[in-house]
Symmetry: C2
Subunit: 330 residues, 2 copies
DNA sequence: TTGAAAGCGCTAACAT
DNA sequence: ATGTTAGCGCTTTCAA
């Protein structure tokens, strides 16, 4: 009812002890105190509904229990489910997420990171291909706060890391295409290449070293733009390095009155939710995106708990999900 | 380079003035000071690269420049673009977003809101159908922090509000269907009905009072589940109260080997990005989702600037986007 | 076993 | 025009 904030002082007064005692007892050091005192303090706290003020606490150097998250584009299904995974795992441990959207824009990302740092986040989870190492280092150095780099880019040797098995993903896609009897294949390569995407490509090229490589933007419209060339070159099957790209190809094909998979087989990457709903349903390499987020959060929580343990790298498995966008030619 | 935090004291020393002077000058009260002093202080700040500590500032009762955002499901395209709009507008004014995902779960939402409150957010932007009024009020009362309720639910008369013209949206959909010659129509109604969705329905029913109403969950799988009944009842055209629902219907239809729009016309709501990429491209009522987010953020910023101005309600226009999922029968 | 007191970095009222 | 000082709510030595 009454909106007054109850402070530690009131609890102390009510319990008839000093504020120091209250602080101690309420912070896990109860064992050093007379059980009776403990009792009184806890009772007082409960009666008054006392909750320690987060901000005051941070000021004295405690954790903020807040993690900064930076993604390039929350609107992208991949990142939104990633964020969901992170956010849920974090909240479970009492951490909260501060989200920033970098928009693939270096300057904005830097600003966002700085703002996050100002608010005293305990750590950063960063998934952004365009963030530069220098910015990262700069932000990092302001205070010794842990960073977890996700998927998009390797960050030297100074952080934990979670990735998926990109190389294998590429391989899986290629093998499937080969098995289905395709030989004249292409792969769409983003102009803004990141480490993990390159691994996918490498995996793919193991089976199809001669594959036609077409560069474009890693987005729906990027995919759409590439259809003309695909058709000109008489490509049978194309490996899109992301589902987004594949969806763009779908649209491009429809606009040219061509059909998938008759006129062109396409295989995507990510296994975003919409893959099932698109026509024909998109065959794709599934990354455990939600799990990726959870793992990242988990790593962060562990790191915060023991800041000096050696850096960890986790790699999550991928798998092929066969649906209807690849023609069976044999 | 050096990770030490530079405090106001060092700036003061360097400039040869007191910390109070520094604080004043750096907080817009420079006009009361000797230009020379101002000069010195600013120089000192720049040389040292001083940035006021956010937390210390908050402690003395300043704003945190942080807004708490609660959405039910960030994974949903509608909410992710909403969040993007909010986040971008906020960041532009130096505010940062703390995002929580409610997951349509009252308890989790409450927890999230409480965590946000603990971190001293200046205000809340809440878009969640399942949040109860009591929880909202409770959180609100802890401190007098403004709330903006978005879309999903009206929150008594104690907050600003942004919505879109839902009634008109429903009307638009109905009129189009009628104009295209459809008479045997259905509308999918979510079992968890929110105010704005009800308006859509009402608008639709103006033109089709006798429309078949089918209840289901407001999600892709909800849409999928409803296809059987649609077919049984020989419905010609269906109004899905959200694009998600429509996508579900697409899948359901494909599974039954039926085609859209030949066997069933469908019209969606929201105009999520995927509408263009789905086959056939989905005709839908477009809400300016991104704009909705921006407006909400804008409202919040204004409210924070003048806490006592009268509450505002903005309603944004919607429009019909005609694509290929409705059959032209005339 | 408990309490007094010194900050954390900043702002704002009050002196000078 | 500028400096002094008292907090904000909490944690943490250090003494008692």
């Amino acid at each position: 009812m009454c909106a007054k904030k109850v402070t530690i002082r009131e609890v102390a007064k009510r319990a008839g002890v000093s504020i120091a005692t209250v602080s101690q007892i309420l912070n896990g050091k109860a064992m050093n105190f007379n059980p009776l005192t403990v009792q009184k303090v806890q009772a007082a706290r409960d009666e008054l509904g006392y909750k320690a003020d987060h901000l005051a606490r941070q000021m004295v150097g405690k954790q903020s229990k807040t993690i900064g998250i930076l993604v390039p584009e929350i609107t992208n299904s991949f990142f939104s489910t990633l964020v969901k995974g992170i956010e849920e795992e974090l909240l479970r441990s009492g951490y909260i997420s501060m989200l920033c959207n970098g928009g693939f824009n270096g300057a904005k990302e830097e600003k966002a990171l700085l703002e996050l740092a100002k608010r005293g986040v305990d750590g950063f989870i960063i998934a952004s291909p365009s963030i530069s190492d220098e910015v990262l280092k700069e932000v990092l150095q302001i205070k010794k706060r842990p960073v977890i780099v996700l998927d998009q880019k390797t960050f030297s040797e100074r952080s934990d890391e979670v990735t998926t098995d990109d190389f294998n993903g590429g391989l899986l896609a290629a093998r499937y295409l080969k098995k289905m009897g395709h030989t004249k294949v292409a792969v769409i390569v983003p102009d803004l290449a990141t480490v993990n995407i390159m691994y996918r490509l490498q995996g793919f090229l193991v089976e199809f070293p001669q594959a036609l490589q077409i560069k474009t933007e890693l987005s729906k419209s990027g995919g759409q733009a590439v259809v003309a060339e695909l058709l000109e070159q008489n490509i049978e099957a194309v490996f899109a390095l992301s589902d987004e790209l594949a969806f763009g190809i779908y649209l491009g094909m429809r606009q040219k009155n061509k059909s998938i998979p008759n006129d062109l087989s396409v295989i995507g990457y990510d296994d975003v939710e919409m893959c099932r709903y698109v026509t024909p349903a998109l065959t794709t390499v599934a990354q455990p995106i939600y799990e990726l987020g959870k793992q990242a959060a988990d790593l962060m929580i562990k790191r915060l708990a023991s800041p000096n343990s050696p850096y960890v790298k986790r790699v999550l498995p991928v798998k092929l999900v066969i649906r209807s966008s690849v023609e069976v030619k044999i």
